[in-house]
Symmetry: C2
Subunit: 549 residues, 2 copies
Amino acid sequence: MKRLEHCQVYQSARRGFAPATILFDDRVQSVSPSEKGGGRYVVPGFIDIHMHIESSMTTPTEFSRVTLPHGTTTIVADCHEVTNVFGIEGLGQFMGLEVLNDTFYAVPSSVPATSSLLETCGGTIDGPEVRRLAKDRRIICLGEVMNAHDLLADGDNRTKRIIQVFRESRPECPIEGHCPRLSGSDLDRFIASGVDSDHCQQTPSSIRERVEKGMFLEIQYKSLTRENIDALKEFPGFFSFVTDDVMPDTLMGEGQLDRVLRKAIRLGMRPEDVIYAATWAPAVRMHLVDRGMIAPGKLADFVVLDDLDSLSIAQVYKRGKLVYDRDAELVPHVTLPSFGSGILQSVRRDLVRADDFVLRIPNGSHQVVHVDHEAPGTLTRKTIRTVTVTDGTYHAPDVSILASVERYGHQAPVVPVPMLHGLSKPGAICSSWSHDSHNLLVMASDAKFAALAVNLVIKRQGGIATVDPKGEQFVPLAYGGIVSLEPMDRLGKEILQVRAWLRDHGYQADDEVMSFAVLALPVSPVVKVSDKGIVDVATGTLIDWRDAE
Amino acid sequence: MKRLEHCQVYQSARRGFAPATILFDDRVQSVSPSEKGGGRYVVPGFIDIHMHIESSMTTPTEFSRVTLPHGTTTIVADCHEVTNVFGIEGLGQFMGLEVLNDTFYAVPSSVPATSSLLETCGGTIDGPEVRRLAKDRRIICLGEVMNAHDLLADGDNRTKRIIQVFRESRPECPIEGHCPRLSGSDLDRFIASGVDSDHCQQTPSSIRERVEKGMFLEIQYKSLTRENIDALKEFPGFFSFVTDDVMPDTLMGEGQLDRVLRKAIRLGMRPEDVIYAATWAPAVRMHLVDRGMIAPGKLADFVVLDDLDSLSIAQVYKRGKLVYDRDAELVPHVTLPSFGSGILQSVRRDLVRADDFVLRIPNGSHQVVHVDHEAPGTLTRKTIRTVTVTDGTYHAPDVSILASVERYGHQAPVVPVPMLHGLSKPGAICSSWSHDSHNLLVMASDAKFAALAVNLVIKRQGGIATVDPKGEQFVPLAYGGIVSLEPMDRLGKEILQVRAWLRDHGYQADDEVMSFAVLALPVSPVVKVSDKGIVDVATGTLIDWRDAE
């Protein structure tokens, strides 16, 4: 039997601390009051119930290794990226990788994010796949339902079928949602379909409306403002903190869920309330009855802090085992297995030519539609210009070429579209990590650089290529073109370089790499690009850029 | 689409009311703020997550009919009484009866309550039965684990096996507990085994200790004191109100869960907090994700109140249907099916003789052990007297005869034991409704009356018989000897008469009928009687009343 003696131990039911001694093996045996506690605070292991491992471009294995020192002992992963690439067989392989934390999973609900009419990907999840996945006890929720368009439509569709089959198979499990900007009667209908959480960027009024309508809120970094914190204080127990997406360089630099918690504290939430929303509240939401609290019978997952306000992590215990000790320089260790060609040879695309990326348009006057990426968020807008074409192609000094090149073996024709607020210097970036279909997203100053960057990603079988007159750089993402097999610290440095390249070439966004990648996500407002062209997200239709209505 | 317009609608996340209009069919479609609300309050249907239908001596069908007007729209029933009588086949039959509310079930964990070494009953639940029952989706928890003795013992036993199999089969489901008076390291070990609720009678310190140790508390009527209410106020969300056992006459006179809620309000808890602990808190505890709140997508289960402090119920809606309207005199209707001899001929016992109940003991001086029933609760104590026997039998003016006559076809010898604070006038009462084994419990002034009462129950195949020099009365409990097939209002009046008989004959207890019945419950402190004799509850052993150590 192990013990942590005379600490300040977190009491979930009181949202406070009391001096105590904890006896434990893999589970807590007892928590006995002490006369006085020492300077260290012991809190339950952090639980991140809405996140995507592939956003950190890594395997569950490496993810667990690098996030345990940040206090994250349990995650609920929605691996819809790997499922978009490989289908549910590939999800099963990903779930089979060794982890050091406890990793639970969601049934990915959005594979593809929209439909095969709007985009091409490598897998499909519909009723039969949901029924099959729901039998797996590691799966404990339906992953974020994003397609509000489907849910609010009349008649049958895939999103409704998925919810129905999941509800029948697992009536007790939560259904996670993604509904940015939705409100009023549309939000009512979205929630009435059974989707009762949201993890998108919030405002005080969206927080109040959602919680009053019965939603559980999952608050990520970008939702943390002083005003939102004040709104959240009205509803203890009805929200948790989550990470959603954490880029490799951010993870190595600032941390994972702990980074979110620290920001919440800085913005004025009591550390005791922040810890509640990272431990007990998410455990209750996900019915993880054996954790989230330091009490008899619960897992001995502990984070030992030497300061509460800075959330400075000295030690982490997972299932009673000390896995991280800052001062003793103890860190977790694990090794990856080797992978076969099914995993490593996933970019099934013949090489492209510069000609594929030329914006062709008949001579004459046109109303040209542009994907216009406004800094600082991931939002885009549809910007229309009247232009006169004389050489059969559209080009202008401030116009970049944007395309998502299909890479699942169909050799579909490339559909380049014009973009504003893209690159301001010569060059191109291409990434096979491009949410959620993970085709080969390219943004280029001209067609020649576009083809160079795309062909580099095809030849290297997945990754992020940047090319410009000075040369080329490449970050390999060998696993399905979306996940690195490198250690996270090296990957983090490489992604930092990609970020610098984007900034140097005039691309402006808060999170340059992620904002670029989600230019391909046709459920994120307002206009995005798929392998089939520009998608109008609100209507779920393709737009011809050549002639606006 | 139906609507409830301009009401004061309960907002769970705020534990308060706001004027609103509700649109609904079987589920809520929307809750829209109004300029002003009328005088009526609309709250979610009440959810009673710890209760035994058989305590009200009735079927699930009749129970649902009579409790909907009290606002109870969902129950989680632990039917260990009917399972003790008929085994899991009989539980399945009981669960198959038509109901008007939503009735979920627990896996009965204590069949028998102790072991076949200490008592005889009609069914057994062990690992294989748990595995089979856990496949049924109407079953959502493991019913109250009562056998602290087993849990705290070393090595393998049935209670531990049941928990292990349930945990394997349904890892996400709660495990309910019953641990009166347990505290300190024994309570730690009890909780560490996975049992994390308690519904027994509490004190402020037992409330604080249990919640701090991670238990969810289920607060029943007898736990409601002003001091306990003050302690509970420290822990919103960590307790719910429950009924456990409600006698037929109490149900018809004062109500069901609403009776508990009214008492909590009278003792100083805000009605808004009381409602929370009867709706959202129990829904969360039991993972009933589709109810407990008035919000889009949740079941349209409403209780309409015209006064908050008195919790005066004007209407009840179940799944959108108005099932009770006080002013329109609308009440629910349902009819029972007919039952076969397997259900109706369940008392398999040959007739007994007065001689079976004589307290035989060798002549000489003895230390005689008595089951001593102290008013006002259900607690007993072991009282020892030094007596001198001259005629081979033990008798004294203040000593009653107590016996639990085996009735499952084994024709086991009767083991009468002496009792203090039993009857003070000539007569006997015998009941086949005697928790949890439901043998024929008899308490008598002498052996002749004992045999008369027991034989009446045998001849009539189950019920409660009272006999005295003035004559006899009988309440039939035709279904397994524990459940009446009469309408509840008639049954309530009959039970009131039994209560009056017990009081008239000098038996003193707060709840005479229940206190008498649990004289046979060998997990309830301190000494109880089974068909095998006196059971010492703390040690789980049989005591020979004839010679105390």
